[in-house]
C-alpha cells in the first residue's frame, strides 16, 4: 500500500505542531474572508504572498491552501444566513440556502453545507493522493514540446471557461501574454517592453499584477458600493431532519463527483463546480420546482462541489506545475518565491511538501467544521465591521507586502497602477482571471516553444510527432470547436447565468 504509506508520511508532516498551527491560521483566515463579502481568496492570497516568504515552504503553502478551501466554507455561511455570498463560488448556495433560512432551517442548511463540504474534502484528498503519483510519472515524460502544447490547452481552456463575454476573455488573455513578455528574453538575452527602466529588466512581478488586479481593484470597486449589511437571521437547530439527510446524501455524492472532475480541468475550480452541480441537481431532481424555495439538495450539491473542485484543482498544480485557475497561479507564485519550481519533480524531491500539503487539506477540512459550526454567531457579528476601517488597513498591508518582496518603491507604484487597471476592467466587465493566466502561462509557453524548436533543430513537426503533445493539441482544437458550436455556447451562457 504505497498510497497508505505516503498518506501516513504526509500526516506525520501535517500533524506537526507548527503545521497544524498554520493550517489553522489558513482555515481561520479563509473562513474570515469567506464571511466578509468583497474580499475573496484570490485577493487575500495575493496580499499574503510576501508574508509567506518568511516561513518555510511547507507551512507557507499549507496556510495558503487553507485560505482557499476555508473561503469556500465561510462564503456559504453568509450566503445562507443573509443571502450575501461571501465568495463567488457560493453564489448558488444563496438560492436555496437563504430560502431554507427563511423557513427556519438555517442551522440545518449550515450543517449540511459543512458536512457535505467535509465529505467532499475527504474524497478529494484521497483522489489527489491516488491520482497524483501516476500523473506525475506521466508528467516526467513532459519535455519542452509537451509543455508547450499543455500551455496552449490551458490558455484555450481559460478562455472557454471564463465568465462573461468570450471576446473580452480572449482580449484579456492576450493582454496577459503581452504583459508577460516584459523583461529580458531568456533565449536572446534582449530586453522587451522595458522602456529602458532597469526595474523592468526582470519582468513585472507576479505579486504586483495579482495584488493590483485582484486585491486593490476589489477594494476600489467595493468603495463605490453602498454598504448593505444585515445580520439578523435566526439560526435555529443545527441538526438536519432525517428527511433532509435522505435527500442531501445523494446530492453530496453527485456534487463531489462533478466537483472533483471539474476541478482538475484547466480553467476549472470551485466556481464552475458549484454552478454545474446546482444545474445538474436541478436536472436530475424529481421535483425541480422546489429549487429556489429551500431545496436541501440545492445547498448540499454545490457546497460539496465547490469544496471538491477547490481541492482537486491542486492536482494539475502539484503534478504538472500548471495552474488550473488564478488561485493556483498564485500558489505557483508562492512556490517560486520559496525557490521551488513547481512540476512533477516536487513529489520525488520534496515528498514532505507534497504529502504534507495533501494531508493538511484533510486536517484543515476537519478543523473547518470544528471552527465553523460553533462560531457561526461570531462570524455573523463580523459583518458589522465597517469598510471604512477595514479597507485602509488592508491597503497599508498591501503596500508593506509589495515593498518587502524586492525592497523596491517602484513596485508599489506599479501595484497601484495595476489596481487602477483592475478597476477599469471591473467597470468594463472584463474578468481579470484570463489575463493572469495569460501572464503566467505566456512566458512559459514561449520559452518552451522556442526550446522545443531549438532541440528539434527548427522542425515544427515535433509538436505533432510526439504523442502526448499531439493529444493535448487536439484537445485544445476540440475545445475551440466546442466554443464555435452554437449549442455549447448556449449552455455555457446558461451555466454562468444561473
Amino acid at each position: 500500500m504505497e498510497i497508505l504509506d505516503n498518506l501516513i508520511f504526509g500526516f506525520g508532516v501535517s500533524l506537526s505542531p507548527q503545521n497544524i498551527l498554520f493550517c489553522f491560521i489558513g482555515a481561520m483566515v479563509g473562513t474570515l474572508i469567506g464571511v466578509l463579502p468583497g474580499i475573496g481568496p484570490l485577493a487575500t492570497l495575493a496580499m499574503l504572498l510576501p508574508a509567506t516568504f518568511y516561513l518555510p515552504p511547507v507551512p507557507a503553502l499549507i496556510m495558503l491552501a487553507g485560505i482557499y478551501y476555508g473561503a469556500q466554507y465561510g462564503g456559504s455561511t453568509t450566503a445562507i444566513l443573509v443571502n450575501m455570498p461571501g465568495e463567488s463560488s457560493s453564489v448558488v448556495t444563496c438560492l436555496d440556502g437563504y430560502q431554507m433560512a427563511r423557513n427556519g432551517r438555517a442551522g440545518a442548511a449550515l450543517a449540511i453545507a459543512a458536512l457535505g463540504s467535509l465529505f467532499a474534502g475527504t474524497v478529494a484528498t484521497l483522489l489527489i493522493a491516488v491520482a497524483s503519483p501516476p500523473l506525475s510519472r506521466l508528467a516526467l515524460k513532459f519535455l519542452a514540446a509537451e509543455y508547450f502544447s499543455l500551455m496552449v490547452l490551458g490558455l484555450v481552456g481559460s478562455v472557454v471557461l471564463a465568465r462573461g463575454s468570450l471576446l473580452k476573455a480572449v482580449a484579456m488573455v492576450f493582454l496577459g501574454l503581452l504583459l508577460g513578455l516584459v523583461g529580458t528574453d531568456v533565449n536572446s538575452g534582449r530586453e522587451r517592453f522595458t522602456f529602458e527602466i532597469p526595474m523592468l529588466g526582470d519582468g513585472i512581478g507576479f505579486v504586483v499584477v495579482a495584488m493590483g488586479l485582484f486585491g486593490l481593484a476589489e477594494i476600489f470597486a467595493n468603495l463605490e458600493k453602498k454598504e448593505q449589511r444585515k445580520a439578523d437571521a435566526v439560526i435555529g437547530s443545527l441538526m438536519p431532519t432525517r428527511e433532509e439527510f435522505r435527500r442531501a446524501i445523494p446530492a453530496v455524492l453527485r456534487g463531489t463527483t462533478l466537483g472533483s472532475i471539474l476541478g482538475v480541468l484547466p480553467g476549472g475550480g470551485a466556481l464552475l463546480a458549484s454552478f454545474a452541480a446546482y444545474a445538474f441537481e436541478k436536472k436530475v431532481s424529481r421535483n425541480p420546482e422546489k429549487f429556489g424555495h429551500g431545496a436541501v439538495e440545492g445547498v448540499a450539491a454545490p457546497e460539496a462541489a465547490n469544496n471538491a473542485g477547490a481541492q482537486t484543482s491542486f492536482i494539475p498544480l502539484l503534478t504538472l506545475g500548471i495552474p488550473g485557475n488564478p488561485v493556483m497561479a498564485l500558489m505557483i507564485g508562492a512556490m517560486m518565491i520559496q525557490g521551488i519550481s513547481p512540476g512533477p519533480q516536487v513529489m520525488t524531491q520534496q515528498p514532505e511538501l507534497f504529502w504534507g500539503i495533501i494531508t493538511s487539506m484533510w486536517v484543515g477540512n476537519l478543523m473547518l467544521v470544528i471552527i465553523n459550526l460553533p462560531m457561526i454567531g461570531m462570524w455573523v457579528q463580523l459583518l458589522k465591521v465597517p469598510y471604512r476601517l477595514l479597507f485602509p488597513s488592508i491597503l497599508l498591508l498591501c503596500a508593506v507586502g509589495v515593498y518587502s518582496l524586492n525592497n523596491s518603491t517602484f513596485e508599489i507604484a506599479l501595484t497601484a497602477l495595476f489596481g487602477l487597471m483592475g478597476y477599469v476592467f471591473y467597470k468594463l466587465g472584463c474578468e481579470p482571471a484570463p489575463l493572469v493566466l495569460g501572464f503566467i502561462l505566456g512566458p512559459l509557453m514561449e520559452e518552451n516553444l522556442r526550446r522545443a524548436m531549438l532541440l528539434s533543430r527548427g522542425d515544427p513537426l515535433v509538436f505533432v510527432q510526439r504523442p502526448i503533445s499531439l493529444v493535448l493539441l487536439l484537445m485544445a482544437v476540440g475545445l475551440l470547436l466546442l466554443v464555435v458550436l452554437p449549442t455549447f455556447r448556449k449552455t455555457r451562457e446558461e451555466a454562468f447565468k444561473e
Binding site: 519535455l143 529580458t184 533565449n187 529602458e196 532541440l455 533543430r457
Partner: protein, 320 residues
C-alpha cells in the same frame, strides 16, 4: 567623569591618527545584495554582516536589491556616498560579465567601485545525463565530437557563466554543442536530469543531483579539484589554462578613503577565517571562503573581465 576624559583622550588620539575618518564606523553599514534572500551572495553577506557587526560595534544591515543581473544594486552603491556606509556583496558576473553583455551599463564596474575584499568562491561540475554513454572527461569530448546532431547543453541564461564556461570549452576542445538557455542554473540542471538536454555545467544549486547520481559529474572547472569529489579531475588538467571559478567579493563606492577600505578588508577577512563561518558557507551555499591579497584580487578581477569579454564577443551573448 574619568571615563569621559578617557574617551575624549582616546578620541583625540584617534583623530590625530586618521584625521578624516576618526570615528569610522560611526553609523550603521548597509551591504547591498544583488539577489533575493536565499542565494549564495545573500547567505555570504548575512554571515559576514553578523560577524562584522559584532566586531565593529555598529549594525551591519543586509539589503536585497535584486534586478537587472545586479545592475540595480551595483548602480546604487556606485552612486552612494563613499564613506564606507554603503557596500555591495557582488558576484563576479556583475563585475566581470555585465559590462560585456549590457549595451548600456548604468555605471562602470571597474572604475565606479573599489574592491574591498574577496569573499568566497565555487566551481562548476561538467555533468551529463546518466544515459550519455561516457564515464570520463576524455570519453565525453570524443563522444561530443562525433555526435550528430550535436549534443544540447543547458545554461542558466544568455550570458550566464554556465553558457560562457561551456563556450570556452567548446573552443578549446573543438567540439560543437547546442546552447539551450533556461531561467537559472537550477532549472538547467533539472532539464539535464530529465534528458531534455544532455550536458550542463552544474553549480551549487545542482549539488544534490550530483550526489544522488541523477547527474554524472565528469570534470570540474576550477583551479583545483573539489574536496567534495576528489576523484573528479579539473578540465584544466586536460586543457591547461582553462578555468572558470565563480567568486563573490565585497565592493565599496570609488573614492572611499583607503583607511576605511583597509579596515573593512581586515574585518571581512577576520570573519572569513573563522571556522564556523567557513562551515556555514559550505553547507548552505557550497561556497569556500576566498581570502586574497588586494593585488591578487585586483588581478583576478582584471583577468576575468578580460576572459569573459573575449568569449562574449566571440559568441555574441547579449542582455541589452
Amino acid at each position: 567623569m574619568r571615563l569621559a576624559v578617557q574617551i575624549m583622550l582616546a578620541a583625540t588620539a584617534a583623530l590625530l591618527a586618521m584625521p578624516a575618518q576618526a570615528q569610522y564606523p560611526n553609523k550603521p553599514i548597509r551591504i547591498l545584495v544583488q539577489i533575493n534572500p536565499g542565494g549564495a551572495p545573500d547567505i555570504a553577506a548575512r554571515l559576514i554582516a553578523q560577524k562584522m557587526a559584532e566586531s565593529l560595534g555598529q549594525p551591519v544591515v543586509v539589503e536585497n536589491k535584486p534586478g537587472a543581473h545586479g545592475n540595480i544594486a551595483g548602480d546604487l552603491v556606485a552612486k552612494a556616498a563613499p564613506d564606507g556606509s554603503t557596500l555591495i556583496l557582488g558576484a563576479d558576473s556583475l563585475i566581470a560579465i555585465n559590462p560585456h553583455i549590457y549595451a548600456k551599463m548604468p555605471f562602470d564596474t571597474l572604475k565606479d567601485l573599489v574592491p574591498v575584499a574577496s569573499v568566497a568562491s565555487n566551481q562548476f561540475f561538467l555533468s551529463v545525463n546518466p544515459s550519455v554513454p561516457v564515464k570520463t572527461f576524455q570519453e565525453f569530448i570524443e563522444y561530443a565530437r562525433r555526435a550528430k546532431p550535436p549534443l544540447a547543453f543547458a545554461s542558466g541564461g544568455n550570458g550566464s557563466q554556465h553558457q560562457l564556461g561551456m563556450e570556452m570549452l567548446k573552443q578549446r576542445a573543438g567540439i560543437d554543442l547546442v546552447h539551450v538557455p533556461y531561467r537559472g542554473g537550477g532549472l538547467a540542471g533539472n532539464a539535464t536530469v530529465a534528458g531534455e538536454t544532455m550536458v550542463v555545467l552544474a553549480g551549487a544549486s545542482n549539488a544534490g543531483l550530483l550526489k544522488s547520481g541523477q547527474l554524472r559529474g565528469l570534470a570540474t572547472t576550477g583551479k583545483a579539484r573539489s574536496p567534495l569529489f576528489p576523484d573528479i579531475p579539473t578540465i584544466g588538467e586536460f586543457y591547461p589554462g582553462y578555468e572558470v571559478t565563480i567568486w563573490l567579493g565585497l565592493f565599496a563606492p570609488a573614492g572611499t578613503p583607503e583607511p576605511i577600505v583597509t579596515k573593512l578588508r581586515e574585518e571581512a577577512y577576520k570573519a572569513l577565517s573563522q571556522q564556523d563561518l567557513a562551515q556555514k558557507l559550505n553547507v548552505t551555499g557550497a561556497l569556500q571562503p576566498l581570502i586574497l591579497t588586494p593585488p591578487e584580487f585586483a588581478a583576478l578581477i582584471r583577468s576575468d573581465h578580460e576572459k569573459y569579454g573575449k568569449i562574449v564577443k566571440e559568441v555574441g551573448a547579449k542582455a541589452d
